[in-house]
Amino acid sequence: MQTASVYKEPSSFRDPSGFIFHRDGILYRQIETSYQEHYDHLMVSGLYAALQRERLLIPHTEASLDLAPQPGGAYKVIQPERLNFVSYPYEWGFSQLKDAALITLQIQKKAVECGMVLKDASAFNIQRHQGRLLLIDTLSFEKYHEGDPWVAYRQFCQHFLAPLALMSRCDIRFGQLSRLYLDGIPLDLTAKLLPFRCRLNGGLLGHIYLHAGAQTKLADKNLKPAAQYKVSRYSLLAIIDHLESTVRGLCWKAGQTEWADYYNATNYQGEAFRHKQECVSAYLDKINPKQVWDLGGNTGVFSRLASRRGIHTVCFDIDPSAVEINYLESIKHQELSLEALILDLTNPSPASGWAHRERASFQERSAGVDLVLALALVHHLAISNNLPLEKIAEFFSRLGRALVIEFIPKPDSQVQRLLRTRKDIFPHYHEDGFEKAFGQYFEILDKRPIVESHRSLYLMKPGR
């Protein structure tokens, strides 16, 4: 036990109630004695069981206290079920963020019924696990005292309501503001950005405009101690209900963008499309991966070749419409192994937060990825974004243990489309140039020309 490798999760430091650590590759959570009464209440009040019945909280088992890395203050060590992948709110589509908000409120209502409240309402605490969104922070609850206002109300409004309102009422791309403001979008900024007509919405008027106004006008005024602000249990439930109807009232419909309609808009159909699916399926069977990332995966047509084999698959795309369609499809068909996330590969999610260690970068989260799919992607990176093939190869070689990549040469109609309005300054963009560039970073294991097209699929292994 003394020689075991113990690693404390760098993002787990704000809450004094406990922290996440890894021991011999297994994830645990140490619960401090200061949190004892709250943890015990969670377990005996029936709240934990109720949340498990509805799969709203990550399940855990209690482990030996001997495993605690800081045994001095330890009350319990628990072993939560491990997530396949951790995503961040700025990578979610509109409906995923909305569902996460509604689940947070549902959990809060259940907590109040059992004499507890959520002390945190961070969007980062909601993750997708086995196809469902749930709360992953077991220590988010504290005992409720009649009359106390909801301590996480501000956080809920900043993490959920503000981005949802901006995405719904201004522009879907405002979801990316959450990447800049990790503790949620400031309400005064939200109030300034929202169109004037949003003041006519009772929910937004109260929870955003009034809230922002009260925050700025009353800040540091020493009106009275926090303990003297009283909100009855009934009023608390009324506020939660009002927040719920406000969130439900915010909608966004995925438009027919050029990406969301990609497969219908291209001439790339029929036999070539079917053959490409066959080739990708054959590679999946050969590699037998446990985790797949599909980069530029659009609405997830090829991701589903992997996820339907039970492989945990994350489908990334730059287009919020494509991601929205993909997410809603995965929910509708209760797909357990598929996640749909927004990602601009030319500017991927960075390491951020305190000391760059609270939120892991896109690349850091690729540690367990067995296979990366990059289908119909390279021409967009190389031609639309002027990225040299060597740079693309070098970055891809850092992402997974194998790569299935499609090369689309200049004669293809899709590449012609990209070249229509730009000067062809890409003399090395051809099959030999592609193989030479990727050959520097990968071992090319297989190559399959796709029938009835100019395209080729490659299976590669990094580390040449």
Partner: protein, 77 residues
């Protein structure tokens, strides 16, 4: 229900308009006071709406039970 929602929306609008119109200062030093105050203020406004909503739901459930209850024997073969 819609009328009642509109009424409370406009009431909120009238009472709070000046407060919510143009936030000027930054609230990062003490964001809690404003949030607690907002909850206290909203509690009264949305509390009545919540009462009417839950009361209406209870009436609907009551009649729905009666309706279902009277329908059940008929459905029995």
């Amino acid at each position: 229900m819609r009328l009642q929602k509109k009424f409370f929306g406009w009431l909120l609008l009238t009472v709070l308009f000046s407060l919510a119109l143009q936030p000027k200062a930054y609230a990062y030093l003490d964001p809690g006071t404003g949030s607690f105050f907002t909850q206290m203020l909203l509690a009264g406004l949305v509390g009545l709406s919540f009462f009417i909503k839950t009361f209406w739901q209870a009436i609907k459930n009551f009649f729905s039970r009666i309706f279902k209850g009277s329908k059940l024997p008929k459905d029995k073969p």
